[in-house]
Amino acid sequence: MTDLAGSPAERAAALADASRAGDRRALARLLTAVENHTAVAEQALRRLYPLAGGAHLVGITGPPGAGKSTLVAALIAHLRAAGRTVAVVAVDPSSPITGGALLGDRVRMQGYAQDDGVFIRSMASRGHAGGLAATSTSAAAVLDAAGFDIVLLETVGTGQSEVEVAAAADTTVVLEAPEMGDEVQAIKAGLLEVADIIVVNKGDRPGAQRTAAQLRAMLAPAGEVHGDRPPAKRPDVLITTAVSGDGVPELVAALDRHRAAGATEATPAARRARAAAQVRAVLVERLWHRLASPALTGETDAALEGVARHDIDPYTAADALLAALGREETP
């Protein structure tokens, strides 16, 4: 096991290098640090981020019970048979009341205890809305840098608008179960819009073919393409039966096709969106940290108090705090 002595920078370097060298214990510890936003995690991410980018990040999302975990297990089996290594980040919700969580996705992903080509990590959402945990993207970057060929990001069971995974992944797979809704569901804005691939799972159930046909029909482009707007995605609609593995080879082929198509662009849109989300999150964190510094905490408290009492509005408060940050920079 990696020695955990020394400064945060030294420990970060040791954990990052050991993770890259295949030390699974070090990798697991580093992921814990990432989840807990520690100084070690930040140092390690600085070191690992330039080494990441080789993995195919695949988001798997869809409503509770659609079969996300079972499909992930089927994907692991198929990818391993092809000699590709797989890491999984499986997110389940944290209780808004107690902060506790029941992380049950591993139940469906058994049989790889002796296979170093598979690494499965459960994460609690810890209050983060959007379908992932706040640190899921960073965890995926660590697994990417550790050398896994494919990183599967499984979201919590989602509703209609938890689209964050689309920014976190290169390829977003949205799962639906048969008979989950009528054609109007398919033309609503939200989750289906961000899908690169739509999978109707439980293909052995009656109605699977009809659901897939409805989705294909309703997701076809509605009108002319406007020059100033990106064209709507035209996702593949596939049918799988995750418990038997039917349709999984076709899904893997579709994932590979999507990756290959994205790789021909200079800066694939998904990676740009992910970069924006990551930098924005760090910026917000840094700004809050500075506003809480001894020099500014008085002004920050006063502004928040003012908004709480309805003396000032949130816009005025934000402008005042930005002005305070600017004054601090130019003494």
């Binding site: 955990l4 510890r29 520690t38 969580a101 058994q110 459960s122």
Partner: protein, 135 residues
């Protein structure tokens, strides 16, 4: 950060036919504020320790009704130590004869919980004895 939730693996080693008790405990510990990883029935010691390692848990709790605890539990303890996780708190729940309880403690099990134990007792024991590790 000291206020992050403790992470607990609840595992069912061996060939027990049902896991109602383990599920009730997992749910109860969730309500006590723990992050609980549940892995399902019929786990081998190797599966349990691999899950504990990948999840970087603070606690491994095993539920055993089959009577195979004197075989399975020491094997899990050995594997944890071999893989650098000797500092993880290990607890066992189930029907464990008194003579075996002492042997399990000597082998490295921190807590043995028999029938009638409340979830609060288990939660308090974990909070008092687990040490959250920092990277």
């Amino acid at each position: 950060m000291t206020d992050r939730p403790l992470k607990v693996l609840i595992a069912k080693p061996g060939l027990d036919g049902h896991d109602r008790g383990a599920k009730v405990l997992a749910r109860g510990l969730r309500d006590e504020g723990f992050e609980v990883v549940y892995t399902g029935l019929r786990q081998t010691p190797d599966m349990i320790v691999t899950a504990a390692l990948q999840e970087d848990v603070d606690v491994v709790g095993m539920s055993i009704l089959s009577g195979a605890h004197m075989t399975l539990v020491p094997r899990v303890l050995d594997l944890l130590r071999a893989r650098g996780m000797g500092d993880v708190l290990v607890t066992v729940g189930g029907i464990i004869p008194d003579d075996d309880v002492e042997q399990l403690r000597v082998a490295g099990v921190a807590g043995v919980f028999g029938p009638g134990t409340t979830i609060r007792e288990v939660a308090d024991f974990i909070r008092a004895n687990a040490t959250p590790r920092e990277a």
